[in-house]
Symmetry: C2
Subunit: 114 residues, 2 copies
DNA sequence: GCAAGAGGTTACCAAAAGGTGACTGGTCCA
DNA sequence: TGGACCAGTCACCTTTTGGTAACCTCTTGC
C-alpha cells in the first residue's frame, strides 16, 4: 500500500477489512493480554472487569473465525481447560496494532488542536 | 509501545483510542480519498455511493473534532465552497492506516486457516 | 451431596450506529 | 422564475453492538 489508487480500494477498503477483525469493545484488550501469554476463558473474564460471558464469547469467537487467535482444549485430570493464544497469522497483526497504539497514545494526550 | 504492560494499557487501551478516531463505515474511505487531494462535501458524497448526507456529515465532523482533517471555507464569487483535507496532525495517522491496510489486504485474500 | 469453578448458551433489553426522505437557505444559469 | 448545485439539518426508523440474568454440563473438594 504505497500510492493511492482510489477506485480499487474504495469499496473493498483494506483498512476497513482490518478494522472488521479488530473492532469490538474488548478485542483490542484481549489481543493486548494475549501478547504476554495464553489465557483461559475465565481468566480473561476476571482480568477484564465489566465484560460479560456472552460478549466475551462473541469477541473471542470472532477473533478465532478470523484466524487471529487459536482455541486450545486440554483435559487435565478430567477437567476441561481451554486456552486462547495468538496464531502465527494473528501475530502478523501486531505491527499494525503497535502503529495504532502509538498514535492512540499521542491522541489521548493531545489537548488543543494541531 | 514495545513491551506489554497490561495493567496500564488495559482500560485506557491506546489501540482503542485510535480505533475510536477511525472506526465508522465511511471514515477510512474518506481518509483514503483525502490522501490524493482535498475534496468538497458533495464531491465526497458523489464519490462514495451509498453514503447519505447525514452520515457523511457526522463522520466528517468527527474526523474534524479529532483533529485529523480540516474544514476550509472559501467564498468564490459569492458561492460557499467547503473543502476537507488532512491536517498535519492527521497525516501522522497515515503510517498506522498503511499498516492496517497491508494486513487487511492479506486478510481479504486468505481462504483457509493458517 | 452440594457448592464452587471450569466454559460456556439462551432469551431478552438498551444503546449506538447507520439509513431515508423531506427540507433549508443561498447562488448561478437559462 | 424556476431548476440545479452548493452544504448541510431534521425527524424518524432499522440494524448492529453490547449488557443482564438465568441456565447448562462437567468435575473437584468439603
Amino acid at each position: 500500500m504505497t500510492g493511492p489508487d482510489p477506485q480499487a480500494k474504495l469499496f473493498d477498503c483494506p483498512v476497513l477489512t482490518a478494522l472488521g477483525a479488530i473492532s469490538g469493545k474488548w478485542k483490542t484488550r484481549i489481543l493486548w493480554l494475549l501478547r504476554e501469554r495464553p489465557y483461559h476463558f475465565n481468566e480473561l473474564k476476571r482480568t477484564l472487569p465489566g465484560v460479560s460471558a456472552k460478549v466475551l464469547t462473541e469477541q473471542i469467537q470472532q477473533l478465532e473465525e478470523d484466524g487471529v487467535i487459536i482455541r486450545r482444549e486440554d483435559m487435565r485430570n478430567g477437567v476441561l481447560h481451554v486456552d486462547y493464544r495468538y496464531s502465527a497469522y494473528g501475530r502478523t497483526l501486531i505491527p499494525a496494532l503497535d502503529a495504532l497504539g502509538d498514535w492512540g497514545l499521542i491522541h489521548a494526550g493531545r489537548d488543543g488542536r494541531q
